[in-house]
């Protein structure tokens, strides 16, 4: 027999950007702990739809923790209480039976709310468009071992590249800063030979794009690192700071 639990979901409902929002309570009834929280929201939405009510809007896509589409605050924590986990990978077994579960959208000046739990995270795309790429012409695919890269550099670049752009760093930061996101990309490309030609321009452009979008400044609170489902290290942020200061 599967274990069943009862939860009360307290979900932020807001019909649109310029309409007032408020919390609504939804009792789950008995539900299997093998369900994910998003699957429970699906169940609640089926009920709401059958009753002719508006279902809860939330973002999701892969539901296997790799795309970065999902994200909300669960009991005040980005992606919920389980560490190194996206919201879609949060299961009811990770929550306390009989408890109240408060679900709130990511909040930041740079993440305007669209509806309920859905916020507009395109500010992150605009930061990426400002310099998070390599545009040098590299010709056809060269022989893999032609460019020697030290293993530790490759490892760090790969770790930095694991960012899925979910925005949990911004959501959890007391200053709503996006610098771990920026730092991940800057650090990744600064570690690799392909990133060298545009190295200085990239970091200056990405930092000023983040500032323009209205993200806060990093105060080294370390909330981003703890909330990141991929556990991006703060060392990437430090490398970005170094890159920035030497680029100026």
């Amino acid at each position: 027999m599967e274990k069943l639990i009862h939860l009360t979901l307290r979900v932020w409902r807001q019909p649109g950007p310029d309409r007032p929002g408020r919390f609504h309570d939804y009792p789950s009834g008995p539900v299997a702990t093998s369900l994910s929280l998003l699957e429970l929201l699906d169940l609640v939405n089926e009920r709401l739809t059958l009753n002719g009510e508006e279902p809860i809007a939330f973002d999701h896509d892969c539901r296997e923790g790799i795309c970065g589409a999902c994200g909300a605050m669960v009991d005040g924590l980005a992606h919920g209480p389980k560490s190194e986990t996206t919201l879609c990978q949060l299961h009811l077994r990770d929550l306390a039976d009989g408890g109240l579960v408060v679900i709130e959208p990511f909040r930041a000046l740079a993440f305007p709310l669209i509806k309920d739990l859905v916020v507009d995270r395109s500010a992150l795309d605009r930061i990426m468009a400002a310099g998070g790429y390599v545009s040098v012409d590299t010709g056809g695919a060269p022989e893999a071992n032609v460019i020697p890269i030290p293993q530790s550099d490759a490892d760090q670049a790969l770790a930095a590249a694991s960012c899925i752009g979910c925005g949990a760093c911004v959501a959890s930061c007391p200053h709503a800063s996006a610098m771990l996101f920026v730092g991940g990309k800057v650090s990744q490309l600064a570690c690799l030979p392909q990133g060298q030609p545009e190295r200085a321009r990239r970091v200056l452009a990405m930092v000023s794009a983040a500032d323009r979008e209205g993200f806060g400044a990093c105060g080294n609170h370390r909330e981003c690192e703890a909330a990141c489902p991929k556990r991006l290290s703060l060392r990437h942020l430090a490398r970005m700071n170094r890159e920035y200061l030497s680029a100026r």
Binding site: G21, R22, M73, M179, N220, H221
Partner: protein, 228 residues
Amino acid sequence: MAEPEAGQGRQMEGRARPVRLPFASTVFSQALMAASGAGLALFVLLHLLGNAAAYLGRAAFLAYARHLHGLGPLLPAMELCLLLLAATHVVTGTMLTLHNLQSRPLPYRVKAIRAASLSSRLMPLSGLVILLFLAVHVPAFRRPAGPSAELVRITLSRPGMATFYLLSLAALTSHLSHGLWSLFQTLGIVAPRYDQPLRRAAVIVSLLAGGVFMLLPLLALVWPDFLR
């Protein structure tokens, strides 16, 4: 159930108005904070050594103070440097704090903390307390004419003043315990292997410094013959 509240979407309007940016960028401003903070912290530690002379008695304290005044034109030069460092730190810190306050116009109704320390979140507040403290402390104890042990004893033996000193020093301890680690991260001087030790060292150094500073008003408060 919560009261209906204004929509976060109103932040759209916030987006349209330019966000006030401190200096070149947030990253540059943070670097200014770190560099000026490091300079100020260095001064604080030197100041601490000077104060420690008071524990050796009145003669040692006066000898230290005379030595300081014997530096000649070096003293006003150091004072000017300190003033510039402090001005940079306070102005940049104020602008950054204002910028950060705008970055989440609608606060979370429920927010939990995973990693941030109390002292990191209290930086603007502890900084403000230090500023207030300096506004009282510097005019009271700055004596271009020469040192006076009586002045120190009389000032610090007043209970209200001693309490103010102790609270301010607690703020300084808190400010340093985050700042002494944070400045390395901000300036990009880090090696992951030394990150934990550095964090611990920052807390230990600030607790030690705070403790030695605090002993002075404590002694003056309970021991009438202190520095006599």
